[in-house]
């Protein structure tokens, strides 16, 4: 209850980039290390144009970086670009934790009152 989760909706931010499950699958696959496209195509069972399309979106928000090595293009995860998501969740978690610490105090009072009365209010 009462959960402010407001954030700006833009097309090119990390939140939108990870809203698509196949893009998350790509990020997961890259969390183990750098991989060429063909490797991703094989690992994820998606068509190559599809993988390339998703990689493009991920590159636009900086979540994925690419480098050339010989004839191969190697993709890697850039966790910094995903930090807004992490921070957003953590901030939200923090505000609930603060709230619940206060709720602990309320519950302590209620417990003591019950014991004092010897009955439920």
């Amino acid at each position: 209850m009462m959960l402010s989760v407001a954030r700006a909706a833009t097309t090119a931010d990390a939140f939108n980039a990870v809203a698509e499950p196949r893009r998350r699958a790509i990020l997961d696959a890259l969390s183990d290390g750098e991989r060429p496209v063909n490797d991703l195509v094989h690992a994820l069972g998606m068509a190559q144009p599809q993988v390339s399309k998703h990689l493009r979106v991920l590159r636009e928000v900086g979540a994925v970086e690419v480098r050339e090595e010989g004839r191969q293009r190697l993709y890697r995860l850039n966790g910094h670009a995903l930090k807004p998501i992490h921070d957003w969740v953590k901030n939200y978690e923090q505000s609930w934790s603060e709230r619940f610490v206060q709720l602990d105090a309320v519950l302590e009072d209620l417990k003591q009152k019950e014991q004092g009365d010897g009955s439920d209010e």
């Binding site: 499950p21 969740v89 934790s97 709230r99 602990d104």
Partner: protein
């Protein structure tokens, strides 16, 4: 697993349009429910450390409404309201929730309280209905592991701090 009475809230994202908040309390669930649904008690915890509660209205019946208002530390007012849809005292409470600063983005909240050995496990599942989230769903055509993804992202983000 070690349990403390002042543990932190755990926030997970079970699906694209859901948020799940969990926390254990060292009190029976009747008391947690009471603290959650009694205006003068809600006033004592709801603002956390982020402001001061200025008004709590609760009409606890199906179809009844609630409205919580706080003045944030920064000086502005933050208000939420909604309607109760399902009430099982001490166990389950379903209500809509609208942040008045973003009136189009309504959510449906489900509070679930379970008790074991005098301790209460609290869960709040927030189901979003905003277009942004819904579109994410339609496009995805599947509701798989946002949580796993979040875990992976979190590992990465933490490792890069």
């Amino acid at each position: 697993m070690a349990v403390t009475s002042s543990g932190t809230a755990t926030v997970t994202l079970p699906a694209d349009d859901q948020i799940l908040i969990t926390r254990e309390f060292d009190a029976p669930r009747e008391l947690v429910y009471k603290a959650w649904t009694t205006p003068e008690l809600v006033a004592r915890w709801w603002a956390g450390e982020r402001g001061k509660v200025t008004s709590i209205d609760i009409d606890l019946r199906v179809g009844g409404t609630w409205r919580f208002v706080m003045e944030a530390n920064e000086g502005f007012e933050v208000a939420f309201h909604g309607e109760y849809q399902e009430i099982v005292p001490n166990e389950r409470l379903v209500n809509t929730e609208v942040f008045e600063g973003m009136p189009d983005a309504a959510a449906l909240d489900t509070l679930t309280l379970t008790e074991e050995d005098g301790r209460t496990q609290l869960q709040v599942l927030v189901q979003h209905t905003s277009k942004e989230h819904r579109d994410g769903h339609i496009n995805s055509g599947m509701e798989d592991g946002m949580q796993e993804a979040m875990d992976a992202l979190e590992r990465v983000a933490v490792s890069l701090r």
